[in-house]
Each structure stands twice: as structure tokens, then as C-alpha cells.
Symmetry: C2
Subunit: 310 residues, 2 copies
């Protein structure tokens, strides 16, 4: 792979559509992924907002197979492969590599709490050794408010020293700009790519020398987020950031994953998008109407979505 | 199954031994389970202290197969079958039922945080409907300090009303006696069996009409815990409880799972017991020596363990 294909820009943890009987809906998934790729949004499938941890390893493997078989570009995929169980993480990462995806986003194991840096290091190291591929590039996934397992700077430093090529970057979803900035200053110059965990820090991340963002709202507002990524040095960049923030704030008033799926349903005229797996709950009628109104009031649009998802 | 085989007494979340290359060690596992059964400790395999969430569904299925094939009594097993992914929980629960185990201990899905009671209810309900077995008996697993997903009284009440025979009890590992007591008063009279999450609440739970305890230290101190369960109405019950608490307190000074495995290694003279999967870390030499001294000072013994695990 040439350096030009190193991940940069905007990625989205692609929401996973389900049929009414809660099976992954491969057709809707493929159409949505194709629409994202057309707008230059990379596919961070199997992220938190993908309900990835409500899917079995086999379900994730089959969903990835669907994308690869359909010819979507593997160099624009960054599947989430970090599971609670070591052997699941190894199996899913191997499958990603065998499918041609070399970039993976990897949660630390997330059931046990209060684990040590030694234990987290050992987890990543075991996965790297067992997968045993020089092609592998791991983006570690820092989302302590959900995983409850933080990836601090000393741990990242240690991983980088042990696996300087394989440990390739981070998705920082912690919401703490100081942490993002510290990684930009300390690790980005070593070629460790820092992605903001959502677009509210996109401009700051680009100004700090980072690689882009991996954001839930990339599922619904891809074009505008990609525009800011491309034009972050433009004179009106701050105004564009504010416009992105305003749309994000609408979604943030609702449970995020049901709201993303709700918006896809509303704008594509396909109610089937609303289904979520337990333990999540779909928007109720009142929430859905409120989301619709709030997005209309914010002049939100999803150009082309109806045709793309039809 | 006759009512006499309804689970009562002392269960242990059986620690899962691993080979040096971190594979589940079926031989050591079987020997340990047999030793526990001989002392009338039930097998709550695949609990938190079993490192269950560091094992794949297939690994757990094969470990259960080993016990069942060896003829260990299925009516004394209560495998943990609650996973992060709905489909994993369904698969593992179906396998337990197909193996003849009707009692399962079930965590709620534990990746997503801040989920609603509606979502947790829907998760249990979907699993029950998909497994579709009248034989199934679910013991819900309340361990909010680890799972970060609490099972409150209104949720349990709702589950009991919807599935009065299938929702059979709880393991309460929350460490909050008020919560245990409230369940004993409100639900135990309905036949919902309350198990304390460790033996420090065993006597109080028995006095409150509960069913027993499911405890990590059952792995190492089975006989004494079973004795208190049997003789909880004896004159010296409080003194026995204090003796159990003193041993528990020694283990609680160390990371629990590595300490349990460390003690099994020390007392069985089989160092192979010390291996844990990441993200856990085995006791280091200093910790191991400190554990050995502290247990000796507490006059701790594991009669018969050397022969049993040889």
C-alpha cells in the first residue's frame, strides 16, 4: 500500500440496519455504505454507533464480506475489531486482513474494569502477535465514557515503541480536548494519526496537524463534514465548524444511535431504518416527530439520500 | 425436573485455567469442577471470575461440553450465558439448554451505558423468546460495578410479571445489602431465588429467606462456605461467618481473579494455575509471596486440593 492510501479525512462508524426481526440487513447496509463512499466518507464499520457490540463476530464477518464482495474500496474501510474476548478480537482482525482491510479500529477489552496499563498493553500485544501480519495497522479506540477503559498517553507511548508501524493512530472519543491535543503534540509527529472522535473537534484537530475525524454524524451529514475537512484552511472555516456543531447539537438532544437511524428513516422515506437491537430502544413517535421538527428548523438536508437508499 | 433440584446452596463462578499459550485448559478445568462438586459447590461456570468475557462463545461451548461429557451433574451447573451481543447470548443459552443445563446466570448486555429499563427488559425478552424453551430458568446477574448496567427492582418486577417461571432468581453482586434485602422481601416470597453475590452476605441472606450465595472464593474455600450454608441456624453461625469473612478479606487485598488462581497454584503445587488472559495480569512474584504468607497467617487450607488437581 502506498502512503497516499494512509487513512485521512472523515470516517463514519456506519450504523447497522436491522430487519424487523433484528437480523443485520445487508442490502440497506450496502446501499448506505456506497452512499457514504460516494461522498468521500470512509467506512469505520463496527464502531460504537454501529451497535457493533450487539453483533456476533460471525455477523460482523458476513457484513464485511458483503461490502468487499460488492467492490467497495477496502482502503477506505476501518472495521472495528476490538471485542471483549481476546480470541474474538483475533478472529475478527484476521478476517479483516484476509479481506484486504489493513486498517482496523480497536477497542481495548471492555468488560473488566480497573485493569492496568500492563493488561491493556498485553491485550493489544497478544492480538498483534496472533494476527501476525505486517500489513496490520491498528487505530486504538479511546472512548472511556463507554468502554470504561481509558487509553492514556503512557500506554500509547509504550505501544508505539513496541509496535511502531502497526500502532498507526487513535480515534479519540473521550471528549477531552486536552487529551486530543496532547496526542497531537506528542505522537502525531511520529506518524501516529490522531482522529477526533467527532466533528466538533475537526477544525481544531486539523489545525493541530491531525488526520481528520471519525464521527457518528458522518452517517447523516457527510458532505458538510467532508467539506470542512477539505477546506479547513479556508477563511470561513470557523463558520463552517459552527454550522456542523449546530447540526450535531440537534442529534445530541436524542439518544444518538436511534436518532441517526431515525433521521435516515425520515429523509430516505424508509421507516425500516429505525430498528435497533436491544439494549437500545428506537425513538418513539413523539421523539421521532421532535427530531423531524428540530432538523427541519436547523435547515438540515440529506441531498440524494432518497435515491441512494431506495 | 422436580422442585428438589431447584438451585440452592453455594455456587462458584469457576475460574477458567489457561495453558501458557492462553488456551482454555480443559483438563485442569474438569479436575477443578469435579473437586467443587465433591464438596457440594455448584458450577456457575462462565461468571465474571471465570474470565467469561475474555472467552469466545465457542470456547465456552466447548468447556461446557467437557463437563457434560464427563458426567458432571447438569442440575448443579448454572453457566453464565449473558454476552454483549444478543445473538451470542441466544446461542450460548440454547447450547446450555441443549446440553441439559436449564439454569443459566445472565448478565445484561454490558457495552452500551445509560441504557433504559425498556432496553434491558427487551434484551432479556428477546433472548427468552428466541431460545423458546419452557425448561429455561434465568438467574439475572446484578453486578453494576463491573457491568455498569444495574438491574433495579422495577425491572425485575416487570421481568417476573412477564416471565414468571423463566425468571427464576438473581445473583446480587452489587455489594449493597439494602438492595439484596429489598429483593428478599419483595421477590423471594414469589419463588424468585436470591443468591448473595459473595459469602460475606451468606448468613444474612439465609436469615432473610434467600437461596444461598454464588461466590468467587467458593473456588478456594468451598467446604467452609458450604458448612455455613448448611448450618446457618447453628449457634455458632455468626462466628463461622466471621471466619469466612477473614479468609475473604485476605483475597480481597489482591486482584481477585489472579489471587484465586494464585492460591490454586500454591496449594495444588501446580504453577500452571496462575495464567490469566489479558486484560488481566497474573500476580507477580512479590504478590504471590505476599498472598502465600497472608493465607498461611490466616491458617487457610485447601484439604485434598493437591490430589484433586494432580
Amino acid at each position: 500500500m502506498n502512503p497516499a492510501s494512509r487513512p485521512r479525512g472523515v470516517y463514519s462508524p456506519v450504523v447497522t440496519p436491522f430487519s424487523n426481526d433484528l437480523q443485520p440487513d445487508h442490502d440497506r447496509f450496502l446501499r448506505h455504505c456506497r452512499w457514504l463512499i460516494e461522498q468521500d466518507v470512509g467506512l469505520a464499520v463496527f464502531g460504537t454507533n454501529s451497535e457493533a457490540n450487539s453483533l456476533s463476530v460471525d455477523e460482523k464477518k458476513r457484513l464485511l464480506d458483503t461490502l468487499v464482495s460488492a467492490g467497495l474500496p477496502v482502503e477506505r474501510m476501518m472495521p472495528g475489531t476490538g471485542c471483549s474476548a481476546l480470541t474474538d478480537s483475533v478472529e475478527l482482525t484476521r478476517h479483516a486482513i484476509a479481506s484486504g482491510c489493513r486498517h482496523v479500529l480497536m477497542l481495548p477489552p471492555f468488560y473488566y474494569k480497573g485493569v492496568s496499563d500492563d493488561g491493556i498493553f498485553r491485550s493489544y500485544a497478544e492480538i498483534i502477535e496472533r494476527v501476525g501480519s505486517d500489513a496490520l495497522r491498528i487505530y486504538v479506540y479511546h472512548i472511556p465514557q463507554v468502554s470504561q477503559v481509558a487509553l492514556g498517553l503512557p500506554l500509547i507511548d509504550r505501544l508505539l515503541k513496541a509496535y511502531p508501524r502497526i500502532i498507526a493512530g487513535v480515534k479519540d472519543s473521550g471528549g477531552d480536548w486536552d487529551h486530543t491535543q496532547a496526542m497531537l503534540e506528542r505522537f502525531q509527529p511520529q506518524g501516529f494519526d490522531v482522529f477526533a472522535g467527532n466533528e466538533t473537534f475537526l477544525l481544531a484537530t486539523m489545525r493541530g496537524g491531525g488526520a481528520g475525524c471519525i464521527t457518528a454524524t458522518g452517517n447523516v451529514n457527510p458532505a458538510a463534514i467532508v467539506d470542512l475537512y477539505r477546506d479547513w484552511q479556508a477563511a470561513d472555516a470557523d463558520a463552517r465548524q459552527q454550522a456542523l456543531d449546530a447540526i450535531r447539537a440537534v442529534f445530541a438532544k436524542f439518544p444518538m444511535i436511534p436518532a441517526l437511524k431515525g433521521a435516515l428513516g425520515i429523509y430516505s422515506q424508509d421507516e425500516g431504518w429505525g430498528v435497533v437491537r436491544p439494549p437500545l430502544v428506537a425513538l418513539n413517535d413523539e421523539q421521532r416527530a421532535a427530531l423531524k421538527d428540530a432538523l427541519a428548523n436547523a435547515h438540515f438536508a440529506m441531498p440524494g439520500i432518497e435515491a441512494a437508499l431506495a
